[in-house]
């Protein structure tokens, strides 16, 4: 036997996984039920009682305060880690989720409760919106040992799908929560919903008696997404951008446009392609030292070799300031 064979086997010899067969059985059953429900639900839910909750299709005209602090300035105190938050935005595939790193709210606790509250606030990037009204959540936690995350709803008012929300939107809203909670957990941990400690059988009309797993990335995420820069970032001399994408041959096209919409920089970044999930892309260093100070838009787009036949490229944008 090879020396490394021995070492690697030895390294995990002590790992005794917990028994998850019951959980797996449960989830393979849940899936079938959900699929069936999705068909029946579209018809049934039209009769759902509307409770008068205003669904937060946030007007995208108010950019909110945004991160005004200059991120290039050296802070004496390390800032809190940002919160990966999943918002809804428009793509050629319809509404999809975009991951955005929201700065930690001042004085906020780390963890699920804060992440959930961010889901009910106005996103920092005005291109995004959320499907959750203010005050929807009362908190949440992650139980790693039990393999389950819990999300507390404030009350039962989100039980049914409200008028004006499609079944697809309702499912996307639940994915917003599952993806955001799992990002906090840094694990693909199933998510259950409760009101005052009691399980709820549905949220927005989507069955929640069994904990929810995330839907596949390629079914719910926008196919391109910018991690850096964040919205409103101030840059000097140069910057770089990165994010996630699922694009033809891993190619992401990017452009930097000035306030008049003229393209002042553009290039391709190459990455890898994975049929199951988004993969990382990055621009490398972009020199902007010769550009006049002002507001610019950074655009990342999937490569679209079909020339628009497949609905055209997905894009994500960030406003940045060059000074």
């Amino acid at each position: 036997m090879d020396d490394l064979t021995t070492l690697l086997h030895d390294a995990v010899e002590d790992v005794e996984p917990t028994d998850r067969l019951a959980a797996i059985r449960q989830q393979t059953r849940t899936r079938r039920t959900q699929r069936w429900y999705a068909v029946g639900g579209a018809v049934l839910a039209t009769a759902a009682v509307v409770t008068g909750i205003a669904i937060a299709a946030w007007p995208s005209t108010d950019p909110g305060p945004g991160p005004s602090k200059d991120p290039t300035a050296s802070d004496s105190v390390a800032p809190d880690p940002p919160f990966p938050t999943y918002y809804v935005g428009d793509t050629p595939q319809g509404a999809r989720l975009f991951r955005y790193f929201e700065p930690a709210p001042e004085g906020a606790d780390s963890g699920v409760a804060t992440a959930l509250n961010l889901l009910t606030a106005v996103p920092s990037d005005p291109d995004y919106r959320t499907l959750w009204p203010e005050g929807a959540f009362a908190g949440g936690w992650i139980d790693y040992a039990g393999g389950l995350a819990t999300v507390l709803l404030t009350d039962g008012s989100l039980h049914d799908r409200p008028a004006g929300m499609s079944a697809a939107q309702a499912r996307l809203a639940l994915e917003q929560v599952v993806y955001t909670v799992q990002a906090q957990a840094q694990a693909l941990i199933p998510v259950r919903f409760q009101v005052e400690g009691n399980p709820v059988d549905q949220v927005y009309g989507v069955p929640t008696s069994e904990p929810l797993s995330r839907a596949p990335e390629l079914d719910v995420l926008a196919l391109v997404n910018i991690s850096n820069p964040v919205e409103g970032r101030v840059v000097e001399g140069h910057f770089s951008a990165d994010g996630l994408a699922s694009s033809f041959e891993g190619t992401v096209r990017w452009e930097l446009k000035d306030a008049g919409g003229a393209v002042v920089r553009s290039d391709y970044s190459t990455g890898t392609f994975d049929p199951e999930q988004l993969t990382e892309w990055a621009t490398g260093d972009i020199d902007v030292s010769d550009l006049p100070a002002g507001t610019y838009t950074f655009v990342a787009a999937t490569d679209d070799p079909s020339d628009g036949e497949g609905g055209g490229p997905t894009t994500d944008t960030r406003t940045i300031t060059i000074r």
């Binding site: 090879d2 020396d3 490394l4 064979t5 021995t6 070492l7 690697l8 086997h9 030895d10 390294a11 995990v12 010899e13 002590d14 790992v15 005794e16 996984p17 917990t18 998850r20 067969l21 959980a23 797996i24 059985r25 989830q27 393979t28 899936r31 991120p71 050296s74 802070d75 390390a78 800032p79 880690p81 940002p82 990966p84 790193f101 790693y144 040992a145 393999g147 990002a183 840094q186 694990a187 693909l188 941990i189 797993s213 990335e217 991690s227 850096n228 996630l244 994975d274 199951e276 999930q277 993969t279 990382e280």
Partner: protein, 195 residues
């Protein structure tokens, strides 16, 4: 329709129903069977890739659920096992990448790069074991994956190439680079074994 034709038609429909039932029962049975035979090994593989046992269990559990959903196109325990392996590797990479993006972002913002290790699980004791997992973690993702598949699952070069969707040449290159680095990082422990 003649009687004979009708008879054929009915038989064909029944056969179709049986196939559908088989496919559904087959998926459940395949999950049970593969879970019994491979759950522990796959979780251990994921621990080598991710370090964190909780995250490893999530990833493998998820892979079983995905396999159940794909059973109609797999229909064969060997193919299903290959699919499970591939999915475990892919999803581990995704989990790591996610963690990596957050960590890099924090490092960039703080410029300190000092992070509490989020992967410190409760269970992993022993200097050498920790050293091996640390060393694996220090490798580039592809090299770590190739080494785990080669030295832990003991797959052949072409099986590894299939699982990772890369060429056999790349497997060879990653394996030789990765094992050289690993031997270097673990020189003390390898030496210890020789004694």
């Amino acid at each position: 329709m003649t009687w004979a034709a009708r008879q054929t038609h009915v038989t064909a429909s029944l056969a179709a129903v049986e196939v559908t039932l088989d496919a559904d029962c087959g998926a459940d049975a395949a999950v049970e069977q593969l879970y019994a035979a491979h759950w522990r090994r796959l979780v251990r593989l994921a621990v080598l890739l991710l370090r964190d046992q909780g995250a490893a269990e999530e990833v493998v559990q998820d892979a079983f659920i995905a396999m159940h959903g794909r059973w109609r196109s797999l229909r064969d325990p060997d193919k299903a096992l290959a699919y499970l392996r591939q999915t475990v590797v892919n999803r581990s990479r995704s989990a790591l990448r996610h963690r990596g993006v957050v960590e890099r972002y924090v490092a960039r913002q703080s410029r300190a790069g000092e992070l509490a290790d989020p992967a410190d699980g409760p269970a992993l004791a022993g200097d050498r074991r920790t050293a091996v997992l640390d060393a694996l973690r220090a490798l580039p993702t592809r090299q770590r994956e190739v080494l785990a598949l080669r030295y832990y699952l003991e797959l052949s070069e072409s099986e590894i190439a299939d699982a990772l969707g890369i060429s056999r040449g790349s497997v060879k290159a990653h394996a030789s680079r990765g094992s050289a680095t690993l031997r270097e990082l673990l020189a003390d422990h390898l030496h210890e074994e020789d004694l």
